[in-house]
């Protein structure tokens, strides 16, 4: 598609027969515009013709074609996308082709986007570039919604492709979640999460998706039914990489609705103990312990001893305070936070 574009010279709309009846409408920027953009001629002309058919509410194949051209020039142009949907609807166009078109946009536009980000359209992450990712995703959702379950596998494949380029692409994940909830296709989703987490255990988006699957999939029994096996899975991930915040947060999330079980779960206190006894990478073990204690957990003597061993001589009789003191020391960027947490602990007499 890229090479096609480069080989074929752009024919100005004013020279195309099918547009001879249309009077282009120039953008009315006023006499002294601010943030004026030095549009290239073909951008200006395309948008001038777009404005003409937009204002005339034209619903025609040529209007559809023109939106394609305009979108290729600026995929973030939500008005053009919105107009395109109106045309697609009016013309009853086969929307399978529309999915192909959007795919072309996703791939072919890397050229334009390199001006903004070094990566392709699919892999951009800053909020600015997300504007177009957002508009794009919204359109894709609209099309898939019209197509219904016939689009399921295509959409799951499509998002998978994007995620293979950027495993944390916010909008790809969002679209994938929508597809699963609206169209189904849950069967392999937990395996997919397994694969991604195995590939990169620090991929927080994959953990987030895992949480989505275990809490929302109609094929699984929900959080309560999944908790035991998920705790086991997560504990293993923590043992492998105790410095990984994603797995710790996921573990906490498994008890989101149920602080009582959180406090009473032997697996939780024992993973803290296990990580603390290795004497490295234990910021999350300590903060988890603090969270447990603040919810009423009574630490064992073994846990107390191991925490006290980490602290400098002036260890406190109150374990939560000791935990905060150790964290102040070992997690210097958050020293103020741990100091504040300590100040909020209930006073022990």
């Amino acid at each position: 598609m890229d090479s096609d574009e480069e080989n074929q010279p752009w024919i100005p709309l004013s020279q195309r027969l099918e547009w001879s009846d249309v009077t282009p409408v120039p953008q009315n920027d006023g006499p002294n515009p601010v943030v004026p953009i030095a549009y290239q001629d073909h951008f200006t002309e395309t948008m001038d013709y777009f404005r003409a058919i937009f204002q005339a509410h034209e619903r025609s194949p040529r209007a559809l074609g023109l939106t394609s051209e305009a979108i290729l020039l600026n995929p973030g142009h939500y008005t053009v996308w919105q107009f395109r949907r109106l045309v697609l609807e009016a013309l009853s166009v086969d929307l399978h082709g529309e999915l192909d078109f959007t795919e072309t946009i996703a791939k072919g536009n890397s050229k334009n986007y390199q001006l903004w980000v070094k990566k392709s359209f699919l892999a951009i992450s800053s909020l600015v570039s997300n504007i177009s990712a957002d508009t794009y995703r919204h359109h894709r959702r609209w099309v898939a919604e019209k197509l219904g379950t016939t689009a399921t596998s295509k959409e799951l494949e499509f998002t998978k492709k994007i995620l293979s380029l950027d495993a944390k692409h916010y909008h790809a994940w969002s679209h994938r979640q929508w597809v699963l909830q609206a169209l189904g296709g849950w069967e392999d989703e937990l395996n997919y999460c397994d694969d991604l987490i195995e590939e990169d255990v620090f991929n927080n988006s994959a953990w987030n998706q895992r949480y989505f699957v275990i809490t929302r999939s109609p094929l699984l029994g929900g959080l309560n039914a999944m908790r035991e096996s998920e705790v086991k899975y997560t504990v293993n991930a923590i043992i492998a990489r105790p410095e990984n915040e994603s797995s710790w947060r996921y573990l906490r999330g498994l008890y989101r609705d149920d602080n009582q079980s959180w406090v009473n779960a032997p697996a939780v206190s024992s993973i803290c103990l296990k990580v603390l006894s290795t004497k490295t990478n234990h910021v999350f073990a300590l903060s988890t312990l603090l969270d447990l204690i603040s919810h009423g957990f009574h630490p064992s003597q073994e846990l107390r001893d191991i925490v006290n061993a980490l602290s400098t001589p002036e260890s406190d009789s109150d374990l939560a305070r000791t935990v905060c003191t150790v964290l102040e020391d070992e997690d210097p960027i958050r020293a103020d936070y741990w100091k504040w947490r300590k100040s909020k602990l209930p006073q022990v007499s």
Partner: protein, 425 residues
């Protein structure tokens, strides 16, 4: 240490190490610089930034075609940056901008991304109502996506324009609440991943509609504090890379939290009294606060609506009373580390600010890095209108910026002017 365990580094680790390398290299250069040079290195290049910003108001190259649908936002990025730098806008430029933005407003009352484009969010109340979805969320534009950012846009605009009422507020809190994730931060939509930009938007929205006590603030803070890393700047999501723009999105959330200190205290005392766990349940406003009324202090105005649904709240006063609330003075994030990241890693010597070393400057990052820098400087002030203390400003004191209203990210002076103006309408 990694090599000892012989684990093959993952994509996340490799990218993280590369960034840490770049950042620590910058910090090493700084650490080894002669004493008298250091203040120079930490200096905010005001003149250069002004040059870059003023240039953009007058001319943007062809590469900006992809932002053709975001020109009002470009105006904001640039004008807000100029305001932060304390640069008065000359009368000619001001009227030009008003004229231009006027052209972006369409017949339906909303503003579009450029002249003649469809409305996004309107100053007109009816338009905002049209964008409202039964779920409580707002759409970004007609037929557009519903998300937390759109909720914030609608609610904050309505609040500043003095048109926020029950009908606009209805169910918004439920929608935002459904977006707080198991991690503690807020996502763009229910079930998505917790994210700095949406966390700011969600938190600010909840404050503006007087329902912030419904969020699990303890978990929110726990998530937020871990977004600041060894690089000293903020990342947007767990295990993602540092990015200068989150200096405001995450830093701004801290600026918001320091004014809801008593609510945080209440939740810390009763950790199980949250509503966050029920995604679809009926909201039970204020149950968190019952029984903790002994802790009422200056933030009491933020409790009323939460305490009792029948208690009338004038939503339009919230933004104003918020900044006169007595703030929490203990810092929760490392402000001087963040300033170091912004000045040494995000600042481009030729003008403008950026995501991280190796990236190019742009107006978006310039706006949000400077906004974050301002938040840092005033983070420990008791009174946002007073000048920050010498020790709160990293580098020469001339780095000092104008303070912002953290709910709107508008320079405080301009906020007061707007508030006064619309109050009289």
């Amino acid at each position: 240490m990694e090599s000892e365990t012989q684990v093959v580094p993952t994509v996340t680790e490799r990218e993280q190490w590369m960034v840490e390398n770049d950042v620590f290299h910058v910090y090493d250069l700084f650490a080894n610089a002669p004493r008298n040079v250091k203040p120079q290195l930490l200096k905010l290049r005001r003149e250069k930034h002004l040059e870059y910003l003023n240039g953009g108001l007058r001319y943007l190259g062809p590469s900006f075609c992809v932002l053709d649908a975001n020109r009002p936002w470009l105006c904001y990025w640039i004008l807000h940056s100029l305001a932060l730098l304390g640069e008065p806008l000359d009368a000619g430029l001001e009227s030009k901008t008003i004229d231009f933005l006027g052209r972006c407003q369409d017949q339906e009352g909303g503003y579009g991304g450029g002249p003649g484009q469809a409305s996004k969010i309107s100053k007109l109340y009816t338009f905002l109502l049209q964008m409202k979805h039964p779920s409580g969320g707002f759409r970004m534009h007609d037929g557009g996506e519903i998300d937390v950012r759109a909720c914030y846009t609608a609610i904050s605009v309505a609040s500043i324009l003095n048109i926020l009422d029950d009908e606009l507020v209805h169910n918004v809190g439920n929608y935002i609440l459904s977006c707080q994730t198991y991690e503690g931060g807020i996502a763009g939509e229910p079930s998505s991943e917790a994210h700095g930009g949406y966390t700011f938007c969600g938190l600010a929205t909840m404050i503006l509609i007087n329902e912030v006590n419904r969020l699990d603030l303890t978990r929110l803070i726990d998530w937020l504090v871990f977004r600041q890393g060894r690089e000293c700047g903020f990342q947007g999501r767990t295990n993602k890379l540092v990015d200068g723009c989150y200096s405001f999105w995450q830093g701004g959330s801290f600026a918001l939290l320091r004014r809801v200190g008593s609510l945080i205290d209440a939740q810390l005392v009763m950790p199980d009294a949250g509503e966050h766990c029920t995604v679809s349940g009926t909201p039970k406003q204020g149950e968190i606060l019952e029984g903790t009324s002994s802790q009422v202090d200056k933030t009491s105005q933020f409790r009323q609506g939460g305490l009792n649904g029948s208690c009338r709240v004038n939503y339009n006063d919230i933004g104003h009373s918020f900044i006169s609330t007595c703030p929490l003075l203990e810092p929760l994030f490392n402000s001087s580390a963040l300033q170091q990241y912004i000045l040494l890693c995000s600042q481009v010597q030729e003008g403008g600010l950026r995501d991280k070393p190796g990236k190019s400057r742009d107006y978006y990052h310039t706006c949000y890095c400077l906004s974050g820098l301002s938040v840092c400087q005033y983070y420990q002030s008791e009174d946002d209108e007073a000048l920050p203390s010498r020790s709160a400003v990293l580098g020469p004191y001339s780095n000092q910026l104008e303070p912002v209203h953290p709910l709107f990210n508008v320079v405080l002076k301009q906020y007061y002017e707007a508030h006064e103006f619309f109050r009289r309408q």
